[in-house]
């Protein structure tokens, strides 16, 4: 245990101040470092929130020994740690019984809980050890805890509590190029391996299911390669998937009759629709029923005029709506009618506990993404609500729905202040786990997400962000956010993140775990299943000859 210094001042609200020992190089004390203060009854776990140069005598600063000659070098050596010294600001996060103290503790003291007192003057401040990390963050056991990374300056696992993680909606934030999708993939691997929830991933850039290239152009494995039969890949663009040598489990087509007004509302921005056109859509749905979109598209000018007059609709709005509907109608995965619903198959997979990646292929424009994601999620949400209600009625454990986690990218498009009130995503984010559906929100503009939704996000995993508003958004509904702002502001642009929230006992700055061969080996323990899956696929493609 390396001693760093002694506690000299502070308060619970403002944080603590420790004087750094002169032997500790100040440059080794980084922002966000995890340190321990041993008090008389409790051990306190703190984050370094600031490091400050101080001097016992202001005269030093007026006449500092600045020359490179021998005398000033000597003076600097002498003064450092005596007249001039460093103060480390600490934010106490957790307290835990000091088991070496001669005190009878209650049961509650033996688990980490938020610090509600502070240690006395001159308590020892030291670096946290591996054992401390394990006491606080748990150990990666392949079930409840999943190692997501290491602290910035130590080689110790930092784990997410997966059971807590899937209890609420979560967010992965960071500006583009900071490794959000790698981090997301990492988390998904953890959740899949531990079977903590069933996952549906709306894979806008086709990078989760099968192999993708990392920033250095090196191929990395997708979820389907790692987990074999437990992950099914569906696509909206069969041609693109085949082009990449993947044979998806199915191609998803969406029937125009499944389109509802809420989809149109959500697409208002993408389609540049005026509010009156949305009202026109409501009118059409009321008058024409489920198949309103197809019927509207089929109307010629006269029929439309007749419909407008008959139903007191605005002709201009109806025309605008119809021309925008053509954009949707032209999407390759949208069909007037379907012989066989692959969407039902996809939902069936999820119900059976298989994870699904939905690739968008070349359909990576927002119109396609929002439309498909919202429509599918609405179906799923309705289904899960029904299942939950059944479970409430029967109280039979067998009826308890599997927790479903839906991963969406560009989440601010679904969850901005306007959309969040209207879309299923907004409902899911607000309802928490009541209906066993949660979101994994991946976004680069957290400030674009509705504040009410943000405040319900359980665990926030944040890579580098520069925009002040985005940083503010991350700390919406977080106490002590001011201390963490500085930590967040110093994250590297790659492979570093700030963990915060429900699934971690205290905020922690980490180096994210490497997504490489050793990681593959750690998560893909059931190789036999993968081999079986591959041979099955081989048979599918080439026949059983």
């Amino acid at each position: 245990m390396t001693r760093l210094g002694l506690l000299v001042a502070g308060s619970l609200s403002e944080g603590l101040a420790a004087r750094l020992d002169p032997t500790v190089p100040i440059e080794d004390v980084r922002l966000g470092k995890f340190v321990k203060i041993v008090g008389q009854k409790y051990e306190y776990f703190c984050l370094v929130t600031d490091v400050q140069l101080d001097s016992a005598n202001a005269e030093v600063l007026r006449d500092p020994p600045g020359d490179p000659d021998a005398v000033d070098v000597f003076l600097r050596h002498v003064l450092s740690g005596t007249t001039t010294y460093a103060i480390v600001k600490l934010k106490p996060e957790l307290m835990l019984a000091n088991t070496s103290a001669d005190v009878d503790f209650e049961e509650a003291d033996l688990v980490p809980r938020p610090a509600r007192s502070i240690p006395p003057h001159f308590s020892n401040v030291s670096e946290a050890t591996t054992a401390d990390f394990e006491r606080i963050f748990g150990r990666d056991d392949g079930r409840n805890h999943f190692q997501i990374g290491q602290p910035i300056d130590m080689d110790v696992p930092v784990c997410l509590d997966l059971r807590r993680f899937v209890e609420r909606s979560n967010g992965v934030f960071g500006k583009s190029g900071t490794g959000k999708s790698f981090l997301t993939r990492l988390i998904l691997c953890g959740v899949i391996k531990a079977q903590a929830a069933v996952n549906l991933i709306f894979d806008m850039h086709s990078e989760y299911g099968w192999s993708a290239k990392n920033e250095n152009g090196v191929e990395v494995k997708g979820l389907s390669q790692l987990f074999g039969g437990r992950v099914a890949v569906y696509t909206l663009d069969m041609e693109s998937s085949r082009g990449r040598g993947i044979k998806p489990a199915g191609e998803i087509k969406i029937a125009l009759r499944d389109l509802s007004v809420s989809d149109i509302t959500l697409l208002q921005d993408e389609l540049k629709l005026h509010r009156t056109a949305v009202e026109a859509a409501t009118l059409c749905e009321d008058k024409l029923g489920d198949d309103w979109a197809a019927q509207l598209l089929d109307m010629d000018g006269d029929a439309l005029a007749e419909f407008a007059v008959k139903n007191a609709g605005n002709m201009n709005s109806l025309q605008a709506l119809r021309s925008k509907l053509r954009l949707i109608d032209r999407l390759p995965f949208v069909e007037r009618s379907l012989r066989r619903s692959t969407l039902d198959e996809l939902i069936g997979q999820l119900e059976r506990g298989h994870h699904v990646v939905l690739e968008f292929g070349r359909q990576r424009n927002l119109l396609a993404y929002i439309l498909a994601a919202n429509l599918i999620t609405r179906r799923l949400h309705e289904l899960w609500v029904k299942k939950t209600e059944t479970y409430w009625a029967t109280k039979d454990e067998a009826d308890r729905p599997r927790p479903l986690m839906i991963t969406i990218e560009e989440a601010h498009k679904f969850l901005n202040a306007d959309a969040a009130r209207q879309t299923t995503f907004g409902t899911i984010a607000r309802e928490l786990r009541k209906f066993y559906v949660t979101l994994l929100v991946v976004d680069q503009r957290p400030s674009g997400i509705d504040a009410e939704v943000l405040s319900q996000i359980g665990t926030r995993i944040t890579c580098q962000l520069n925009d002040e508003r985005d940083i503010d958004a991350i700390f919406t509904g977080v106490s002590g956010g001011a201390h963490l702002r500085t930590v967040l502001a110093t994250l590297d642009s790659r492979e570093q993140a700030l963990l915060l929230g429900h699934a971690v006992p205290m905020p922690m700055m980490i180096r994210t775990r490497k997504y490489d061969t050793s990681f593959y080996a750690a998560v893909a323990t059931d190789n036999a299943e993968i081999i079986a899956f591959r041979s099955r696929r081989y048979e599918e493609i080439f026949g059983n000859e």
Binding site: N57, P65, V71, V73, F74, L75, V78, L79, T82, T83
Partner: protein, 212 residues
């Protein structure tokens, strides 16, 4: 040149004898004229009851033995400096060198204490210069004694501190480490007086010359 008049300062310091003693300091007469231990060095007086008092030479003076009789100029023509002593062999008998040492601690029963002893040194007991080993042992126990030097009255305190640190550093054989250690101790003692601190520290290094 005979060792009797002891004018060469590079000759080994001779033992002296306590001629005045108090709790905080003692005055010793050097056995040889100009034979006082170096300014700032450690000296010790052992008593019969196992108490050894340590002091630091804080002031050295050479004058006539008779307080009423002041030395007068003896040089003439070409007779100067050492030739004066050769021409006046009585000089070592009428002149004397005395030195004042501030008490900085004592040893008793094998333990070292860096505070004032229960009894002062006994008159007419021998004063000897501390060996390098004794200096090392004493300074290894701590540097609290620098505070006693700093509190000395009627002595050039700042010069005394610098001289003691220089002498001790060179005697201990690891000058840089000791300089830093002592410097930090001084910085604590003089935390309110940065100007004085740097003035003393500069004197410690300039003499060492090779601090880097």
């Amino acid at each position: 040149m005979s060792a009797l008049n002891g004018v060469h300062t590079d000759q080994p310091a001779q033992d002296g004898e306590v001629i005045e003693a108090s709790t905080t300091e003692f005055l010793a007469q050097a056995q040889q004229l100009d034979g006082a231990p170096p300014f700032g060095s450690f000296v010790q007086v052992a008593t019969d009851d196992g108490l050894t008092i340590l002091g630091v030479v804080a002031h050295v003076q050479t004058s006539g033995i008779d307080p009423g009789a002041r030395a007068i100029m003896r040089g003439h023509d070409d007779v100067r400096d050492d030739l004066i002593y050769q021409e006046n062999p009585d000089l070592p008998l009428v002149l004397r060198t005395t030195y004042r040492a501030l008490v900085v601690g004592f040893t008793e029963g094998g333990s070292i204490y860096q505070f004032l002893p229960p009894r002062p040194a006994r008159l007419h007991y021998s004063v000897t210069q501390c060996s390098a080993a004794a200096v090392k042992t004493f300074t290894d126990t701590g540097l609290d004694y620098l505070g006693a030097l700093l509190a000395g009255s009627e002595v050039p305190t700042d010069e005394l501190l610098a001289a003691n640190i220089r002498v001790t550093a060179s005697m201990r054989g690891e000058p840089q480490a000791f300089l830093q250690h002592a410097g930090k101790e001084l910085a604590q003692l003089l935390h309110t007086d940065y100007g004085r601190l740097t003035a003393i520290l500069k004197r410690c290094v300039l003499a060492q010359g090779t601090y880097a």
